[in-house]
Amino acid sequence: MIKTFNKGGVHPPENKISRNAALEQLIPEGIIQIFISQHIGAPAECIVAKGDKVKTGQLIAKANGFVSANVHSSVSGTVLGIENIADYQGIKKPAICIQVEGDEWEESIDRSTEINRDLSKTSEEILAKITEAGLVGLGGATFPTHVKLAVPKGKTAKAIIINGAECEPYLTSDYRVMLEHGEELLIGVQLLKKAVNVDKAYIGIETNKQDAIDSLKKTAVNYSGIEIVSLEPKYPQGGEKQLIKSITGIEVPDRALPIETGCIVSNICTTLAVYEAVQKNKPLFENSITVTGKNLKVQKNFIVRVGTPLSQLIKAIGGIPENTGKIISGGPMMGRAISNMEAPTMKGSGAIVFITDDEAKRGTKSNCIRCSKCVAACPMRLQPFLLYKLAERNMLEELKENSIHACIECGCCLYTCPANLPLVDYVRLGKTRAMKLIAKPK
C-alpha cells in the first residue's frame, strides 16, 4: 500500500537528473575552513592552535554543553588559525582554517569497506559514540543527534522513522546512499533502535525511487523490525510532521515535539553516519552533496569533506554555466540562494542546485483572485492568503490568532499561487515578528 499525508502538499516536476550518478569522493586541496558552529546550539570550543598538525578525523573543536556537537578535522594538515569566514550567504562566522597536506586518517578509524554487522553494543555505548562523532541531523536542520535521541522524561519512544522521502526536486544524495549503502543504512537503523530502546523502525521512501525500495526490502529481510514504507511522491513529505502523519497516520499535536507521538525521525545520511560512527569509529567529517542543474554538462553526487570551498565543487562540474540565474544550497523548494562561491561546505550541506536564468525569475505579481489554491496546498492547513494580507499590514495579534506559528515555510503556497504573490515571504516576516510577541512575557 502506498501511503501519504492526506491534506495539502504539491508535486513539482521531480527533475532528479542526477539520480544515476554514483557517489564519488571529492578530496579538497589548498585551504579548507571548518566552522566551529555546524549545528543548532552552542558553538563548539576550538582545541587546536595555529601551527598544530592535525589528522583526518581528529577532534578540533569540543562540544560546549549538551546542545552542541564536536567538530573534527576533515583533512590532514596544518592549522592556520581561526578566522571569521563568510558562509554561503556571506555572513561571517569563526572557522578553523587548515592547510591540506595529504590525507592521513586517525588510526582509530576503520577504513575497510567490510560491513561490520556486530550489534552487541549497549544503548549507552551507541549514544556515547554518536556524541563523540559530532553527529547532527543531515536533513538540513543540523540538530545534534544525541540531543534528539535523548527522550525527555515522561515520554516514551515507540518507533524510529527514517526519512527517505527526499521529496525536494533535484536532490538525489539520499537516494544514492540507499542504493549504494543499503546494508550499512539498515545496521544504522538497528543501532538507532537500540539506542532509544524501541523495536520498530520504518523507512519511508517515495515511489519515484522504486529501485531503492526494492533493494532495501530485499536486504531488510535479514534485519528484524524494519519496515520499508512506500510513499506517494508529494512535497513536503520529508517534513518531520508530514512524514510521521504519512507513515503512522498520527498528527503531531500543535506546538508539541514529534516525540509526543512516540516517533523519532532521522535522516538517511544521518543514519549512515550513525553506522560509521558506531561500527567504524568514524566521526562526521564528510557528507554527500548532490551537484545538479538542467544547464550542467555533468550531474554529480559527491562525498565532500566538511569545509571544502564551494568553488572546488563548482570546478569539479566544469564551472558555472553562462545561463545560470541562481545557485541554491539545498532543494529548490526550501533551499537558500548562495551569494558567496568561496564559502566552505558544512555538515548540513546537502545539495548545490543550479537554476537557469528563465526559471530563476518570479512572475509579476497580480491581484489575489481568491482561488484558494494556497489553502488547499498548505500541509499545515493554514490560510496563506490571509496570513499574507495580515503580515503585509503588520497585524500581529491577528497573525497569532490565525496560528502563524505553525507555518513550516515549505513554500507550497507560493509555488501554487496563480497570481505570483510573495505569500511565504510575507508569512515568514510576519512569523518572525509575531513570534517575538508570543515569546514576550506579559
Binding site: 541562481k326 518570479r362 512572475g363 492547513r381 497570481a419
Partner: protein
C-alpha cells in the same frame, strides 16, 4: 560573469497563472457556446460577441482613463465575465441592452470594488440581475430553438416558467405535463431542445465543461456537488410530500440556470469561500435558496438570486469555516 539572483525560497514555481485559469474556463464554456449557436443561430453569436467585446472594452477603458492604472485585460477575466453574462441572456435581446448589461457587470460589479479579486458579487450576475429588473420583458422573452418544424424563430416560455404559470392557474404537476405548452422531454433538456437563455439549454454541454474544469484542477467538486445534492434532497422531499404541487428533482436539476450557475457562476473564485468546508456550506445555501425561490417565490428561476445572496455571506463563511490546523489541540 552575469549576476546571480539572491531571493528567498521557493525557487521554482508551479504552472498556474490567472491567465491560464481564465483560459481554461473559456475552453470549458466552448461546448455550451457551440450548442447555443446551433440552436439559436446568428442571434446567439451576436449576443455572445457583443457581450464579450463590450466587457473587455469597458474594463480597458475604465482602467485606462478612469482609474488611470495599467489595464489588466490580458488576464482574460473580462472575457470570462462577458461569456458568462451572455450565456445568461436570451438570444434575441436588443444590442443596446447587452451593452448596458456589460457596463453594469464590469463597471458596477467589478471595477468599483477595485477590479479582479476585490468584488464581493459575481460581476456577470450583477449585470444579469440588473437587466432582469430593469428590462423584465425583453429579459424573459425567450426564442425557442430553431428546428426543422419551425425554421422561423418563435418565442415561448422556459420549462420553469411553464410550470410556475401552470401552478398559479391551479393546475397540478400532472395536468401541466399534459398541457400543450409542455412540449419537451427530459432528453430535450439534456441536449438543449428547450427555450431559455443561451447557456441554460444543454445540460450535457455544460457538464462536459465541468469535467474539463475538474481535470484541469481549475475548480474543485465541492461547490457544484453540494448544490446538486441539496437540490436533489430538498426538492425530492417536497416532491414526495406533495407530488401534485412540487415537480421532481430531475426537472429542477436539468432546467433553468442550475448547471450553468452551479458549475460556472457559483464557483467564481473571487466570490466563493476559501475552504472546502466553507464551500460546502455555501453550496448547500445556494441549493436551498434556489428551490425556495423557484417553488415559493414569484420568479420562476432562483439561481441568480441564490448565488448573489450567498456571495454576500461569503465573508461570514470565511470567518467561521476555517480549516482545522494540523495537529490542532482543543
Amino acid at each position: 560573469m552575469n549576476k546571480l539572483i539572491i531571493s528567498p525560497s521557493p525557487h521554482v514555481h508551479g504552472k498556474f497563472s490567472t491567465k491560464r485559469l481564465m483560459r481554461d474556463v473559456v475552453i470549458a464554456l466552448l461546448p455550451a457556446l457551440l450548442v447555443s449557436f446551433y440552436f439559436f443561430g446568428l442571434g446567439a453569436v451576436k449576443v455572445v460577441g457583443l457581450s464579450v467585446i463590450s466587457c473587455v472594452a469597458f474594463e480597458y477603458l475604465i482602467q485606462r482613463f478612469l482609474l488611470k492604472t495599467a489595464p489588466s485585460t490580458n488576464d482574460l477575466s473580462a472575457v470570462v465575465t462577458g461569456l458568462i453574462l451572455s450565456l445568461n441572456l436570451p438570444s434575441n435581446l436588443p444590442w443596446w441592452i447587452v451593452i448596458i448589461g456589460s457596463l453594469i457587470a464590469i463597471g458596477v460589479g467589478k471595477m468599483v470594488f477595485g477590479g479582479l479579486g476585490n468584488n464581493p458579487f459575481n460581476p456577470a450576475l450583477v449585470g444579469r440581475v440588473f437587466l432582469l429588473i430593469a428590462r423584465p420583458v425583453e429579459m424573459t422573452t425567450w426564442p425557442l430553438p430553431l428546428t426543422l418544424v419551425t425554421p422561423d424563430a418563435t418565442t415561448g416560455a422556459t420549462p420553469l416558467a411553464i410550470v410556475k404559470e401552470g401552478l398559479k392557474n391551479g393546475l397540478t404537476i400532472d395536468q401541466i405535463k399534459e398541457s400543450s405548452d409542455y412540449t419537451f422531454s427530459y432528453l430535450d433538456t439534456l441536449f438543449g431542445q428547450i427555450g431559455g437563455s443561451l447557456g441554460e439549454v444543454s445540460a450535457v454541454a455544460l457538464l462536459l465543461g465541468f469535467a474539463y474544469l475538474l481535470v484541469r484542477k481549475v475548480i474543485t467538486w465541492h461547490i457544484p456537488v453540494s448544490i446538486f445534492a441539496t437540490v436533489i434532497v430538498f426538492s425530492g422531499i417536497l416532491h414526495f410530500a406533495s407530488p401534485d404541487r412540487f415537480i421532481d428533482p430531475v426537472f429542477h436539476l436539468l432546467t433553468g440556470g442550475m448547471i450553468l450557475g452551479a458549475v460556472y457562476m457559483a464557483t467564481d473564485y473571487v466570490t466563493s469561500p476559501m475552504t472546502p468546508k466553507g464551500m460546502a456550506v455555501y453550496g448547500v445555501g445556494i441549493g436551498l435558496l434556489t428551490i425556495l425561490i423557484r417553488t415559493f417565490g414569484s420568479y420562476p428561476e432562483g439561481m441568480s438570486f441564490a448565488i448573489l445572496f450567498m456571495n454576500a455571506i461569503v465573508p461570514l463563511i470565511n470567518k467561521y469555516m476555517k480549516p482545522k490546523l494540523f495537529g490542532e489541540v482543543k
